[in-house]
């Protein structure tokens, strides 16, 4: 993949995740989040499985299907410890387990973050990108990630745009991933006048 395309993908991720973490910050009474420089890659299928490390670690995965002018898939992945901190801050439940209340809080949080991310991209491109209701899984990272790749029906390679973020003063970290369908991704590039990327 050429540098221009890579830069473009990173810029998209920056804008999207910036909006998503602002939304999260507002839900968490102004806590600030730091973004790590985004990572954009075209992964060959045989390397996709290992893209998220620690395949047996328990993580929380929030997954949505994106439809509209641009189709694709989005995921918000976070270690279970981070999810528990978010749940405690959102619901004042400090039971330390992902119960039904925690699940629905995380689903809502994922919904707000992913919607903010997509809205930012939609505004910039005037293309419609509508998220589905999010699904939430608490499971082995490998199983969650593999199900996301299968949901996206990945063929020989997959474009993954990832931004890592963490919170100031709280042990919260996570990743937001966008897996645009390739044809639709070209459409975004065209809208932004990046025809030949």
């Amino acid at each position: 993949m050429n540098d221009a395309k890579l830069d473009f993908l990173k810029e998209l991720a920056n804008i999207g995740t910036g909006h998503a973490t602002t939304a999260l910050s507002q839900m968490l009474s102004g806590r600030l989040f730091q973004l790590v420089v985004p990572d954009a890659q075209m992964l060959p299928f045989d390397q996709a499985a290992d893209y998220v490390g620690g395949l047996e670690q328990v993580i929380v995965g929030i997954f949505v299907v994106v439809s509209g002018d641009v189709r694709g898939h989005m995921a918000f992945l976070l270690p279970v410890d981070s999810a528990l901190v978010l749940v405690r801050l959102l619901t004042e439940d400090d039971s330390g387990e992902i119960n039904e209340l925690a699940r629905s809080a995380l689903q809502e949080l994922g919904n707000i973050m992913i919607t903010s991310y997509l809205n930012a991209l939609a505004k910039m491109t005037t293309l419609l990108m509508a998220p589905s209701v999010p699904g939430v899984a608490v499971d082995m990272a490998g199983a969650v990630w593999q199900s996301i790749l299968a949901g996206a029906e990945v063929t020989d390679e997959v474009t993954v745009i990832r931004t890592e973020f963490f919170a100031d003063g709280e042990a919260i970290e996570g990743h937001i991933l966008f897996l645009p369908d390739d044809d639709d991704f070209k459409q975004i590039a065209r809208m932004l006048g990046l025809e030949e990327v």
Binding site: G135, A137, V144, A150, G151
Partner: protein, 159 residues
């Protein structure tokens, strides 16, 4: 004993002894073929049910329709007798049930496709731990043919 990890779309095999493992089966289906006399064991990690034209260069093990015949060929190549092969399978879960409320989940499609293609090749399924909404880890001990399946917060299952 040597342990080999079988990633999405891969097929691996051992003769006599060795452990074949897949970690993080979500909607994917892990399939094992075993000839208990020749002690030949093959494991596949099926990603989707049907191969497609626009993914012509994919490894055969990625799809159920191409993966099952490729697994049989591999078993035979290592000295297994086709008529003695028995299959076990695990996985095919749906981790995000609310996203598939109105359609058949990929996990279910994978289970159906693997079952269909095993049947087509006359191979009996003698053990399975499939479906549900949780991920699994599958380990296949080729010296005995035993397959264990583990999941977060669940008792290990021997199939």
């Amino acid at each position: 004993m040597t342990e080999v990890f079988v990633n999405m779309g891969q097929i691996s095999a051992f003769k006599t002894q060795g452990i074949l493992t897949t970690v993080g089966l979500g909607s994917c289906v892990g399939v094992t073929l075993y000839d208990d006399l020749a002690k030949v064991g093959v494991m596949g990690h099926i990603f989707l049910p049907r191969s497609r034209e626009r993914d012509a260069g994919a490894p055969p093990g990625k799809y159920a329709d191409t993966g099952i015949p490729a697994m049989i060929d591999e078993a035979v190549r290592l000295g297994a007798q086709r008529s003695r092969l028995k299959a076990k399978m695990a996985g095919g879960a749906n981790l995000f049930p609310n996203l598939n409320a109105n359609s058949t989940s990929i996990g279910t499609q994978n289970i159906e496709a693997v079952t269909e293609h095993l049947k087509k090749h006359g191979i009996a399924i003698i053990g399975k731990d499939v479906a549900g909404d949780y991920g699994r880890k599958m380990r296949f001990f080729v010296d005995t043919g035993v397959v264990t399946v583990t999941a977060i917060g669940k008792e290990a299952v021997k199939i």
